[in-house]
């Protein structure tokens, strides 16, 4: 397994380099001008100077190599300096956002907590809710519980988050006034009442995303359980006189988790990607929202860096899913 992991990690390097090149070239080909939002009164030659100042005067391959150097050498050095108080990165050029002229990674670090709290929490909730629902739905197939579960997950699946989000805002913020409609990032949790406020402002975005994710995972879980409940080994387990609890939660569940764990692991990178639309609806200034605004502003370094981070996460969690698969299923051996 270790051998497999190392081999896969090494193979990931060329893959990721290629991905970063493709992203870079796509962004370079895309129309749009970082100077578009500069007032028209600014003379064209000044704009040209500003473009050059952003490094846009260099040829494509130089800019790409620069970005690679900054991302893989300078930014890790900065992080290292930050952690250990050294100064390896002193005087070196970091990846700078066109919009804010501040280092991209600092902005990412600022935005990350909101995204992790809202999207990450909803993902954890979704998994915790969906797995038991899937198990019970499958065990009591066509029961009332299953029918209601199917109905709700159909809703979760088919209603887009921009609709359910707005609906929640209308009902719970506008009509009932229970929850704030806008997520206040500057809010700090210091005491009980501020904690309650934090919970309140997280409630709706977390709920919307939980519903959506839980709908998917519970369907997967149910299908996987149903596949396994009819297997011969389940009959064997019952013939051994084991209780239904052991039969279902040990014998069937262990087998059913194999595909579901893969689905869950592959979904984790989307947490970091942020739920772009939901963050927009609730004004959570997380990574997803940042990506959208960066695209609008033709902020190539920001988009490039964020997209590449997502790519790294996707490759990484693919690997983790494969490893988990190998751990859960003894029939799969990678070496």
């Amino acid at each position: 397994m270790l051998h497999f992991t190392i081999r896969r990690l090494l193979l990931a390097i060329p893959t990721l380099l290629f991905i970063s090149l493709v992203i870079f070239l796509l962004l370079d080909l895309a129309p749009g001008d970082p100077m578009a939002s500069i007032p028209l009164t600014v003379p064209p030659e000044v704009k040209e100077k500003m473009r050059e100042a952003l490094g846009l005067g260099e040829p494509v391959h130089i800019r790409f190599l620069n970005w690679l150097y900054q991302f893989f050498v300078v930014e890790p050095q900065v992080a290292f300096d930050h952690l250990f108080g050294t100064n390896f990165a002193e005087g070196k050029q970091r990846i700078i956002s066109f919009q804010s002229r501040s280092p991209v990674m600092s902005v990412v670090a600022e935005r990350m907590p909101q995204t992790l709290w809202v999207v990450g929490l909803s993902y954890i909730f979704a998994t915790l809710i969906a797995v038991p629902i899937g198990i019970i739905s499958a065990y009591r197939q066509y029961s009332w519980f299953d029918q209601i579960g199917t109905f709700i997950s159909m809703i979760g699946f088919s209603i887009p988050t921009f609709f359910s989000g707005v609906l929640l805002i209308v009902v719970f913020s506008v009509i009932l006034g229970w929850f704030p409609s806008i997520y206040d990032t500057t809010h700090e949790v210091t005491d009980w009442s501020s904690f309650v406020y934090q919970m309140k402002q997280m409630a709706m975005p977390v709920f919307v995303l939980t519903l959506y994710n839980a709908a998917q995972v519970s369907r997967f879980m149910r299908a996987s359980m149903l596949d396994n409940l009819n297997q011969d080994y389940v009959r064997t387990a019952r013939a051994k006189g084991l209780s239904e609890k052991v039969v279902v939660l040990v014998h069937v569940l262990r087998n059913s988790m194999i595909p579901v764990v893969t689905v869950i692991a592959l979904g984790v990178p989307t947490i970091f990607g942020g739920a772009i639309i939901t963050e927009q609806v609730f004004q959570v200034n997380g990574l997803g929202q940042m990506l959208i605004t960066a695209i609008y502003a033709s902020d190539a370094p920001m988009v490039q860096t964020l997209t590449f981070i997502f790519a790294v996460l996707i490759v990484l969690f693919n690997l983790i899913a494969d490893i988990l698969y190998g751990i859960l299923d003894p029939r799969i051996r990678y070496d």
């Binding site: 080994y233 064997t236 013939a239 051994k240 006189g241 084991l242 014998h251 262990r254 087998n255 029939r331």
Partner: protein, 350 residues
């Protein structure tokens, strides 16, 4: 075979009906039989004749719904299994009644080690601790002839061959020294040499451990080699019941006779075509009111279409559910066996 001994299992008038959306299916119809300690009872019949469903109904292994199991009684160890609670049945399954199923490739859980799966019933029923259960598991694997048992406990089912997996299944079934072992086509999925090894093993184990065995199969050759008594099932009913020699020498039911005819002979001229029984076994939508074999039977006459034949005692511990008397070559004029006599076990067998 222990003559006259108290039966360890006594089934009286067992019925299983599957209630499905497209109507009900009567899979087991008024099945009665008894099993004596230490004997091997063979159950034969083609696919869909209700062999497996009968045995699984006894012990609550048929999911209900859709199945409904009813009957006069299933006596086992002083209790009526039909009236037993799910918990009581669980205490019997795996502890006092062991099961071996048809397909050893799928009957073991692929994600747990063989050792874990053998130790499970030991820890559950015999309350053994881990170390004791381990010791016993090694013993069991050695008993069923798996070499290097100690090390193989840590292996997963996919690391065993088909025959070895079936041995593991047998080890699991025997784990708690059951009084009855129900083997549901245990050799059907295996090739012939492995089948012979498993049969040999069963012979040995029965001599060593002395449990009673119900052996379900559709292979008459296997039955001839291993059984003491045979039940022939058709359409969810027992159509003939006899000691094994008696059955093969004097089959009294047209179905049994037809089955025996279908066995191709390896000696002499090879026949142009294989013998078959024309037609399909019935799917019973209601409790039978006529002989369920009548549509395929060459001896069928009017009475067979109007009445479901009861089991007639024909002597030598032999009974058959047929209105045609092969000894007289004509319709039978004989009162049927009283149900009570059946229930007491056909004691004069052999």
């Amino acid at each position: 075979m222990a003559d006259g001994a108290e039966p360890v299992l006594n089934v009286r008038d067992l019925n299983t009906v599957f209630k499905t959306r497209s109507g009900s299916v009567h899979a087991v119809n008024s099945v009665s039989f008894s099993l004596k300690p230490g004997e091997l009872l063979g159950v034969v019949g083609e696919s869909g004749s209700g062999k497996s469903v009968t045995m699984m109904s006894l012990i609550g292994l048929i999911p209900s719904p859709p199945a409904q199991v009813s009957g006069t009684g299933v006596e086992f160890g002083g209790m009526d299994l039909l009236k037993a609670s799910d918990d009581e049945l669980r205490r019997i399954r795996g502890a006092r009644i062991g099961f071996v199923f048809q397909d050893p490739m799928t009957s073991l859980n692929p994600v747990f080690t063989v050792g874990y799966q053998i130790m499970e019933p030991l820890r559950k029923h015999m309350k053994m601790n881990k170390a004791d259960a381990r010791r016993r598991a090694v013993e069991l694997l050695e008993l069923v002839g798996i070499p290097d048992a100690e090390r193989r406990l840590k292996d997963f089912p996919h690391q065993f061959s088909g025959g070895m997996r079936q041995r593991v299944m047998i080890a699991i079934a025997l784990a708690c020294d059951p009084e009855v072992l129900i083997a549901d086509e245990p050799t059907t999925a295996l090739d012939v040499t492995i089948q012979a090894q498993i049969l040999e093993l069963m012979h040995e184990l029965r001599a060593k451990l002395g449990m009673a065995v119900i052996w379900i199969t559709h292979d008459l050759g296997v039955i001839a080699g291993i059984a003491d008594r045979v039940l022939v099932m058709y359409g969810g009913q027992i159509v003939e019941h006899a000691p094994v020699k008696e059955l093969f020498q004097h089959p009294k039911h047209p179905y049994t006779r037809a089955l025996l005819k279908t066995i191709p002979s390896v000696r002499g001229e090879r026949a142009d075509r294989l013998e078959v029984i024309e037609g399909q076994p019935p799917i019973l939508r209601a409790a039978p009111t006529s002989c369920s074999f009548s549509a395929r039977c060459e001896f069928c006459f009017e009475r067979c279409l109007n009445e479901n034949p009861p089991r007639f005692d024909v002597g030598h511990g032999h009974d058959t559910a047929c209105f045609y008397d092969f000894d007289a070559n004509g319709p039978r004029h004989q009162p049927n066996m009283a149900m009570t006599q059946l229930a007491g076990g056909v004691g004069d067998a052999g």
